[in-house]
């Protein structure tokens, strides 16, 4: 699933991040989430959502070609990954993380964030 957002609906509850980290890293620990929410307070009182739009820049940066595209989604092949972590810095949205075992992780398009966002601020991109 490819994501899109409607930031004006976001209330900053971070449910997307909690479920993302649980589902993808098996941890109650939103810092492992593969999307980010930033509140712009006190002025102007809005939320910014950083998310993976499957741009593929991480794949271009990977010296091992370990990030592979299928049906418009990019996934890391952990057999090929050498943990150089170059991809982490390449991400223009800063939404890749280093896992506990020191591998990179990126949005897998699992859609959990979309499923649980109470405000429909994170959505499936219907193209």
């Amino acid at each position: 699933m490819k994501l899109t957002v409607k930031e004006e609906r976001c209330s900053g509850c971070n449910v997307c991040r909690v479920v993302c980290a649980l589902h993808n890293a098996g941890a109650v620990q939103p810092s492992q989430a593969l999307l980010k929410i930033k509140g712009e307070f006190p002025d102007p009182g809005t939320y910014k959502i950083a998310y993976c739009n499957q741009c593929g820049i991480c794949a271009d940066s990977c010296p091992e070609d370990a990030i592979l595209e299928r049906d418009g989604e990019y996934n890391i092949d952990y057999e090929l990954c050498t943990q150089c972590l170059i991809c982490i810095d390449s991400c223009p949205f800063d939404v890749m993380v280093v896992t506990e075992s020191e591998y990179p992780a990126k949005c897998t398009g699992c859609g959990k964030c979309v499923e649980l966002c109470p405000r429909q601020a994170v959505l499936a991109d219907q193209g």
């Binding site: 209330s11 509850c13 109650v28 620990q29 006190p42 102007p44 009182g45 109470p118």
Partner: protein, 621 residues
Amino acid sequence: MLYGYAGKILTINLNTGKASADHIPEDLARDYLGGRGFVARLLYDRLDPGTDPLGPENIIVVATGPLSGHLLPGSGKTHFGALSPATGGYGDSNLGGHFGPTLKYAGYDCMIIEGKADQLSTIIIDNETVKIVPDQGLKGKGAIEAEQELKERLGEDYQLLTIGPAGENKVAFACISHDFGRQAGRTGVAAVLGSKNIKAVAVRGTKKIPVFDAKRAQEKGEEMYKVCFGKPGFKTWTPFGTASITDWANEVGAFPTRNFQTSYAEFHEKINGQAIVDRLLVTDKGCFGCPTPCGKYGHTTTALGSAYVEGPEYESIATLGGSCCLEEIEEVAYANYVCDQLGIDTISAGVVVSFAMECFEKGVISAEEVGREISFGSLEDTVYLLEKIAAREGIGDVLAEGVKQAAAIFGDGSESYAIHVKGLEWSGYECRNAPGMMLSYMTADVGAHHNRSWALGYDVSQSDADVSELIEAGTGGKLEISTPDGKVDHVISMQHSRPLFDALGICRLQSMEIGFETFHYEEVFELITGRRLSWQEMLAISERIWQLTRQFNVKHIEGFGRDWDYPPRRFMEEPVPSGPNEGRYISKEILDKMLDEYYEKRGWDKNGIPKPQTLARFGLD
């Protein structure tokens, strides 16, 4: 292993500058759950009688609950407690936002701050690393301003607690601020933080919280969100948040107006939830994990200036709008903003300011003493007094102690309209025709606060009138007398159920307003902690906490007893002069009967002191 918990208590000693982390004692988790339970037990164990609330020997306990920070609706609550400078007894307050979950991710369920720093400092917690950093540059800064500055300095990952000038100046009702508009407002915990020279606490955490059955807990958490999405309250509650009660509170004559002189404000439609949405709203602002954000973040413009502000929520509308008679929502919001920057609880602030206004109106205090003439309905006068209070200048120095102390100094009969119980100012429900709610305020452990038991609905629904008559009569008009019958049991039951959420570390509104059933909490609690407890068993823990906080007051307040449980004389002797409850008041005789029954059912003696056998029954002897 304690599943669901982070596992550690962090103790920060400001005298030595050292921090230490200890395991959460298993019996503490077993008998008190967390949050409010931890706060109550640790304060009880750690503080000696005779402790000065503003001396270095007082401690601040910050505690999350076993469900805080997990995947379930409303899991963002954090509890704060200290010996209260407002009451001299048990003090606690809680806030939502994101601080508690982040403290847990740093590895701590609970934090104890003790001693006193030698200069104004910020505590910075980054997982195991704890630093106490002198920060004179923040001196005198507004609470929101300080948060903004620290957030810019430390980064987005940090969650912050800050105090404003009122906290630095030890105002008895100074509040702790977080997330640009969430406050632990009540009982003056921020004054204790100020007395310790702590301006702010910052925390960042990247650890995992262990979960008993992680897979099923995740499934259950997801299910709870989906259940919430299907609840009627999901759509109807969110648009106005707590402010939606404003019109209703007026309709049933429970809206504090002109320092609680009356209980109906003609202008209420100008300061209700709709007015917020139409005239202020910028965005809904949610706490951690909340699917139904009651936070209404807005922008206001008044003759005094314009500002961004979260709120006003109902309590601020009731006390700043109703009690001080600020008749436009923009003015209420601006006064709310001033309180937020100064770091003053909007509830006490509104009651203290309106008390001063009435004292002035009655000639108890003069223009010379106040520094100017003041009157109800003036935003300028409200802001003037708030600033004097925060700076402790002139009359502000007296008012900064709260209405109980101020009335003792002003005298001249002002005690009867100093609206408080135990020294804590009354929150937003006038009770002269609501005996259950009156008893709730009288017996709340912290003083006159509504969140331990909200029996007003019970009072209104249990009036003499039969339903068909009410339908025929339509809404409005005078209310029948609400009788005290059956109210004591209801209040006791609510005093266990509502504070239980504070011990679990979650927001009660998901249950009270959105409609989660107790079995949802039993199930998710078991999957997260591995401990099977029925709701009834959890309520029994809540009851233990209630007995403990009463005993805390016995231990710390000299001569504590029945006399501390009465409302101001106004509510017992002065008939409401206007509105739906015109002519109503509840005599001391009726209240005494209710207190007798309440004490008896609690296992307390005639003076309201827990009997030894009662304490023994709860393992508190």
